[in-house]
Each structure stands twice: as C-alpha cells, then as structure tokens.
C-alpha cells in the first residue's frame, strides 16, 4: 500500500513535469519562430532599401537616361522597365543565377522648357512580394554646358 502510493506520486510528478515542459517549449518555440521571422523581414527590408538607394544614387550620378541604364547594368524588359538581379547579400548577380532580389526601375520623362525631368520609380522585390518602393527624380538640362 505504502509502495503503491509512492509509485503514484512519482507518476503524478512525471506527468506534471512533462506537461510543464511541453507548455514551456510551445511558448518558447513560438517566440523563437516570431524572432526568426522578424529578423528575416528586417534583413530583407534593409537590403531592399540599400539596393534602391544605390540605384537612386546612380541616377543622380548619371548624365542621361542611357548613361543611367549603363551605370545600373540593367536589362530592359518588354514593357521598357529596367530590371537588375541581386543576390542575398544585395550584390549585383548574373541574370542566369536565381536572384534573391530583383530591382525594377520604371522611368518617366517630363518635358521642361529647357530640359527633361526624369522620374524613376524603383521597386525591389523578392520572388513573392514587393519589399520596398522608392521614387526619385533627376533634371537633365538640354544645354548642360551653357
């Protein structure tokens, strides 16, 4: 009788311990999963911002629309959008390699009395969604040397 009571106490303790362990692990797994997802999203957003910013600076440094396309090293798609592939670290990648990020750049020209105002719409996306969008402009004077 005394021995069976001690055995029951052991089983109760074990069950309580396992329940506590399972409950704790469930909560911790959820926390770690959330942390991993947040960290991945933060890394992707940060990389996308840097890619868009680099492209915007290349537009600022270029002397013409054609010059910008050469600086960006982008290929032109059928609808006239410039596209450039980047790897997971945000460095330009060859088009043959599956890209972690793709930069799409749509250019619109607005005629001005003495030049052209070029508006660039940058969209950085991964294979499933757009991560970041940036809009910038550059004014090209028709007679830059005057």
């Amino acid at each position: 009788m005394h021995k069976s009571r001690r055995g029951a106490a052991f089983y109760v303790e074990t069950i309580l311990l396992v329940l506590f362990l399972l409950l704790s692990l469930t909560v911790l797994a959820r926390m770690l999963g959330t942390a991993r997802q947040l960290s991945r999203e933060a890394r992707q957003l940060s990389c996308a911002v840097r890619i868009a910013q680099d492209a915007a600076e290349q537009l600022a440094a270029s002397d013409s629309r054609e010059d910008f396309a050469v600086l960006l090293g982008a290929r032109q798609t059928e609808d006239g959008t410039l596209a450039r592939a980047y790897n997971a670290e945000g460095a330009p990648a060859a088009d043959a390699i599956p890209a972690a990020y793709t930069l799409l750049c749509r250019l619109e020209e607005t005629a001005q009395p003495h030049g052209v105002l070029l508006t660039a719409y940058f969209t950085v996306c991964n294979d499933s969604e757009a991560l970041y969008e940036l809009e910038t402009q550059k004014y090209f004077c028709a007679q830059p040397g005057k």
Binding site: H2, R5, R6, A9, V12, E13, L17, F20, L21, S24, L25, L28, R30, M31, L32, T34, A35, R36, L38, S39, E41, A42, R43, L45, S46, V49, A52, Q53, A56, A60, Q112, P113, H114, G115, L117, T119, Y132, L134, E135, T136, Q137, K138, Y139, C141, Q143, G145, K146
Partner: protein, 145 residues
Amino acid sequence: MESRPVRLGWLSLLVTVVILCLATLSVLSLSTAQADWAQAQKQALQTESVYALERDGQQWLAALDAALGAAHDETSLDTLLPPDTVRTGSRVCTLQKGADGRSLSIAAELTADGGYRVVQWSQSAEWAGEEEPPALFGTLFGAMD
C-alpha cells in the same frame, strides 16, 4: 496514515533550469529581432524622406533653368525665379523643407552665359532626441500578437 509530499527530484530541477535558460534566450532573441525590424523600418522611412527632398530639389533646378531661359534682365529674373528662392548678386539659393524636419539647402552661381552652376547641395536633419524605448514585455507581447 502517513502522507508524503511529492518531491521534486534532480530531474525536475534540471528541466526547470533548462527552461529558464531557453526562456532567457528566447526573450533576448525576440527583443533583438524586434529592434532590428524597427531599425529597418526607420531606415526605410528616412530614405523615402531623403529622396522626397531630392525630388523637390530637382524640380527647383528645372524651374530655375526655365526662369533663366525666359528672363531678359535681372528684374524679370527676380519675378520668374521659383518660390522660396533668394538671389544675392549672381548667387541664388533656396531651402527646401521636408515633412520630418529634414531640409535641403541648394545654392547655384549664375554664369555669364545665362546658365548656372550648382555650388551647394546639402541635406540636414534636426535631431529630435531619442524616443523612449518600449518596455521589454510590451515589445514582446506586441511582437507575438
């Protein structure tokens, strides 16, 4: 009748310690990830703000170029210059203000052939002080919602 309490054995103690260590690790991991995410969003908003001012500056340059092309003399130039532009002799300058306290200062020298040369293009931002950091548990519960 003898009653014996349920005793916590060494295994229970070990599991409790392991769970506490894992909990600490999880809390630190989640708060770091939350801070990374907040930082990335802040970076994205600042970049948008910088290039919104860049657009304003480029539009100002286009308007200045148009004014220089249309003006016949200095008097007509003053009336044709873009808004918020100050001319001092052969120097024109403007201060474009952004939505978040950021500003862009542009200065250009007017050349003798009717053109201009940009001599200053600088952005600055007023430091508004650090925001109050969120409470640790507020951050955690907010992240897990």
